[in-house]
Symmetry: C2
Subunit: 525 residues, 2 copies
């Protein structure tokens, strides 16, 4: 396994993953001293087929695919690493915090028993986890740089701003680069609260949290927002032992498509002590003498409210970072600021493409990466068409919540003969029973059964096809990726019942289907 690296070792630009990590850390600390990180095959006289402006998920995957197709690309990013915000301040820290939330909920549920510490009244550090992330995040960054250079043969200029000169020309690190096409992959940034005080110290969003948190938050946290990010971070803060108040403009977790599933998830959040106020708006954030947040003023259905808190987390969604492209090229954008593209990812300007969060919802990883790939394919002359549809989805509370297809309510609105298989089943004891149970819900199933999860399969009794699947628990998120493909291909209860389950499977759908598939007229379970 060592031999293959010898040839690379003679390349003066070769860095091991460990060396990349050190270089990235240095560049993050002193960007100007390290200067641009340049990987360009100067001997290659071919024109670039595309320049990707932004090396996040969209730009990096688009670059890799274009390169694999035999094209030549350049990707430019202001950060000293490829991969973008996800590993730096978005999905990766979110997953770390959500893991902590899951572990802390377990520790609190079993406080003082087995090997678990006594968690009574105990507040654990948010800052230690943030610091752990700050120290650890260069690892994934380094892997992505290594992989991009050594394995994917991507050409890049990192740690450098790109200035768009025209639809074929970009300036970066003092050089001018030309290409047949530009691909805008500028991403999005958090929408900031439009209320006095939103600039105070101690008011964070997911991006600032991991960059600037320099003191331990106090006992109360206000979270403004009711979608994925608000809930994921809110549950983490709650799990550390803080009192969390969620101010939700409309309806908490409205995106969970099944009513029972949403209710299960929210009930568990409340049970963990989270205070959720729907129909609430933060009207002002008040600071103390030092300019640090001291309290939040909110309008709620029950009247005005003041909440003392030295830590506020806002998660009001993302706005595409389209302004530089509008100013430089005049690309058309919609009301949300998203760059308008067709199914070939072409903007309103000839030879200019846009991908990733910059083109708006869904701002999900699969869309970022796939839109980058499809732009690359279009630029290389393939006839392609991309429009995201019917994707599975997930979020974290203290649990993983995963879903695909229709919720029960939507299904009933569209189909006459909806059949439901679920666990726990409807029964007079409700949730107080030890199933479902699976990896990472076993301790709950044995001793706190109502915490062991909820799951539901929605079927059309006439065609016997799966219309939707919904899961709260652990270890099923990954499955929904593949299950979704099968559902799109017309998966039936009979086909599910034919599969080979890996017992105790987190999704009990295979065995529940098998118990009912014998019926010509399907019945609920």
């Amino acid at each position: 396994m060592v031999d293959q690296f010898v040839a690379k070792g003679s390349d003066p630009s070769f860095l091991t993953i460990e060396q990349w990590a050190r270089k990235i850390e240095e560049a993050l600390e002193k960007p100007n001293i390290v200067g641009p990180i340049r990987n360009i095959r100067d001997g290659d006289r071919r024109e670039f087929d595309a320049i990707f402006i932004g090396g996040g998920a969209a730009g990096r995957f688009g670059s890799a695919y274009l390169r694999a197709l035999g094209g030549r690309q350049l990707v430019i990013d202001r950060w000293p690493f490829l991969g973008g915000s996800c590993p730096h301040n978005a999905c990766v820290p979110h997953h770390l915090f959500s893991e902590c939330a899951a572990e802390l909920m377990l520790a609190r549920a079993f406080s003082g028993t087995l090997w678990f510490p006594d968690m009574t009244g105990r507040t654990t550090s948010i800052k230690e986890v943030v610091d752990l992330f700050r120290r650890g995040r260069t690892g994934p960054h380094a892997v992505m740089n290594y992989q991009s250079k050594e394995q994917l043969d991507i050409e890049f200029v990192l740690n450098a701003s790109a200035r768009i000169l025209d639809a074929h020309t970009v300036e970066a690190a003092g050089e001018v680069f030309r290409a047949r096409a530009l691909v805008l992959a500028l991403g999005a940034e958090p929408v900031r609260l439009d209320a006095p005080g939103s600039e105070l110290d101690g008011v964070h969003d997911y991006a600032t949290l991991v960059e600037t948190l320099d003191r331990e938050p106090g006992d109360a946290v206000v979270v403004i927002g009711g979608g994925k990010t608000a809930v994921e971070y809110g549950c983490f803060f709650n799990a550390t032992g803080r009192h969390v108040v969620m101010l939700v403009r409309s309806r908490l977790l409205d995106l969970i498509r099944d009513g029972d599933t949403r209710a299960y998830a929210i009930d568990r959040m409340r049970e963990q002590g989270m205070e959720i106020i729907e129909g609430a708006t933060a009207s002002a954030i008040i600071g103390d003498a030092s300019g640090h947040v001291a309290r939040v003023v909110a309008e709620t259905p029950a009247g005005p409210l003041q909440i003392d808190a030295d830590f506020v987390f806002q998660a009001l969604g993302e706005r595409p970072r389209s302004r530089p492209a509008v100013e430089a090229l005049g690309v058309a954008v919609d009301d949300s600021g998203a760059v308008v593209v067709d199914e070939q990812l072409r903007t309103s300007v000839a030879d200019v493409y846009a991908v990733g969060d910059l083109i708006g919802a869904p701002m999900e990883m699969f869309k970022a990466r796939k839109s980058g790939v499809y732009a690359a394919r279009a630029i290389m002359g393939e006839k392609v068409s991309y429009r995201p549809s019917d994707w599975p989805d997930f979020l974290h509370t203290h649990y993983e919540v995963s879903w695909l297809g229709l919720g029960e309510e939507e299904a009933r609105a569209r189909f006459l003969n909806v059949v439901i298989l679920k666990m726990p089943p409807d029964n007079p004891n409700g949730l107080a029973i030890g199933l479902p149970a699976s990896d990472r819900t076993m301790l709950y199933a044995m001793a706190r059964p109502h915490m062991s999860g909820f799951q539901k399969l929605v079927l059309d009794g006439d065609t016997r096809r799966v219309l939707g699947a919904h899961h709260v628990g652990y270890g099923a998120k990954d499955a929904f990726q593949y299950l979704n493909v099968l559902v799109q291909r017309g998966l039936t209860i009979d086909e599910l019942g034919e599969m080979d389950e890996l017992f105790l499977n987190p999704t009990h759908f295979i065995q529940l289907s098998r118990l009912r598939a014998g019926h010509r007229e399907l019945r609920n379970l």
Copy 2:
């Protein structure tokens, strides 16, 4: 949700899940006083289509399916619950212990940091977890009885032995029942070590562990065996802080089909301090004056060995419990004691079927349940054919290990152009990098990167099809059920790259595929 239970409430035999739990506990404690638990529609004059002898996974699922097809069945079990050994002493406790192993490894890795207790030199209780299981297991039992009676309309006699009179007649609880067919679903039982001392107190298998453990094991544990059960329990004992010596007759975890994957799993076991001796046989177990195990004598490649231990766990496989059926009916069995069946699950005796572990390998849940279902379908006149093949598989170390299809070595032996995508990639720093990362490996990825898992996709570069997939980590086991179906249908790297990942997906296969799918000539990653 309450209304639907009113009608049931007027049925004198109706029990809530909670009432079932109490009844089952009482019956387990005083089987003779509680007596047979009978659910038979005496008003139904129809002959039984089948009597299932044994109400484990095979008998219960077969019963449910036969009933769903409109047939009439009876299932008889010696235990006061349906569901068999799995929830009573097999898969369910194994999953609980494996969850504890995962949680304890995490707690030890982060000992004394964040909220984790100082685990240095600390031994945690095995007995407390066993006791937790004993208290909790009636929950799942109760759900299965409730579901079987109220939702699946299964007729049963529980807490009663069945005596086979002939191929159509069984006696149980003082009554004689006749049916068109018998379905033998008698299960299997642990093979006991054939060496002096194997009957001593403190020598356990998975079944006795949860029934008879009455004192806390000491600091050293000897595990005899090297397959799934040996490893799953051995890792749990290790995670509690005990010194575990595994005496493995041939090769540890030989069933993991990919070499790198097996090596990663075993390396982590050794790193946790497990002592693994391959080519070793336990030749005697020596007791103390009170008849409790005191040490194990083993023959090893390095010579004879004596290990002081007051706790021995043997996991030497399972033997079909076929003797009663052989004696009563003369059904043919093979060398392993398995009842021989054809693809309609028919034994050598007319109208007698056999299902589940009784028919031999693979002794897995899916085969138990599906063989029960196929027997039911055959009895009800459907033309069916069942022979398990190409199933996915998994086991637990301190991790989940999942696999499907071919390992790299097998693939290279059969295909000329094998392409590998893996994470971590081959690189000069090996595992010391922060990827893969996902739910429940985030803390490792940030601070103990080499513990964050391993995964590999094996492809045929010519057809671009997936040949195998292998994963060590968490949260991917469920996915392998569905991924396996897609692989069986010819899944290609291009189709994988088209899927919508739920990032950070435990299996990184979708995105790794997408990075390479652009190449006409596929390359490793």
